[in-house]
């Protein structure tokens, strides 16, 4: 177990900001959602890593990740339901076209 903690953290950072990039640039709602999952996942890694390396006696990070996964699942399900509903309505899931509630 001599892999330095910083390695994990750097990887998760790259993953997170890849997610940010995707979130900002993609037009497809599903792609945005994918980016979102990336970010969530990066955060999960951080929790786990910090738990393991910094407070190995406790399980806060572990459980946080566990619940985050559950919530992510729920959130994705709802998001996809909404996206499909939007698709039904406007035959399109481009985020730019969703301007009915603007202003």
């Amino acid at each position: 177990m001599e892999i330095p903690m910083i390695y994990y953290v750097v990887v998760s950072t790259v993953m997170f900001f890849a997610g940010v990039y995707g979130f900002v640039t993609r037009k497809n709602l599903l792609a945005i959602l994918i980016s979102l999952e990336l970010m969530l996942n990066a955060v999960d890694i951080n929790f786990v890593v910090f738990n393991r390396y910094l407070f190995p006696q406790q399980l806060e990070g572990f459980f946080f990740t566990l619940f985050a996964v559950a919530i992510a699942a729920a959130e994705t399900a709802i998001a996809i339901a909404i996206i499909i509903n939007i698709y039904r309505n406007i035959r399109n899931i481009k985020v730019d076209d969703l301007d009915k509630m603007k202003y």
Binding site: I6, G22, T25, L30, L59, I93
Partner: protein
């Protein structure tokens, strides 16, 4: 020896995560993006295994890789044609996204690298399932019954919400 293997596995997983997450957000084919996501999630699970959180790794694979990605794939298949490429991203948008991402990565990386953590390498390895079960179902300090219940209610709400939203009117 084991150390070196561990390192090699770690670097492999890292490479997969870095490459696939970048591919996931840059690929113009949405189905491919989902696939890259799947790889990322698997690699993450690998990390968890490596850190001796086997239960978490299993959860990651079953829920994320098994559940969510499948949902994504269905959704993608429902909403777009196969082989359809998304539009090119406008350069200003890309510039903004790159700026945000790179700046963020820079600042975060700087902070992480300059911050002094005091890692204590975990000695005990694997977390025992019984401990987990007690922590999840207990009501004492460092036990998580309340969040557990909250999540279950959330999931229930999600089920109902999902049905409500997806229901045909």
């Amino acid at each position: 020896m084991e150390q070196i293997a561990n390192h090699i596995i770690f670097f492999l997983l890292s490479a997969v995560i870095v490459v696939c997450s970048i591919m996931a957000v840059t690929s113009r084919r949405i189905l491919r993006a989902a696939t890259y996501l799947l790889f990322v999630l698997f690699a993450t699970a690998g990390f968890y295994f490596q850190l001796d959180y086997h239960f978490l790794g299993a959860v990651q694979i079953t829920i994320y890789a098994g559940g969510i990605v499948v949902l994504f794939v269905f959704a993608i298949l429902l909403t777009s044609k196969l082989g359809e490429k998304s539009d090119r991203i406008s350069s200003t948008k890309r510039a903004w996204g790159l700026a945000a991402a790179l700046l963020g990565a820079l600042i975060c990386g700087y902070t992480l690298c300059t911050h002094d953590f005091f890692p204590q390498f975990a000695a005990d390895g694997e977390v025992d399932m019984k401990t987990l079960g007690h922590a999840l179902m207990g009501m004492d300090k460092y036990q998580y019954l309340l969040p557990f219940e909250a999540v279950s209610i959330l999931l229930l709400a999600c089920i109902i919400g999902g049905i409500m939203i997806a229901r045909k009117r």
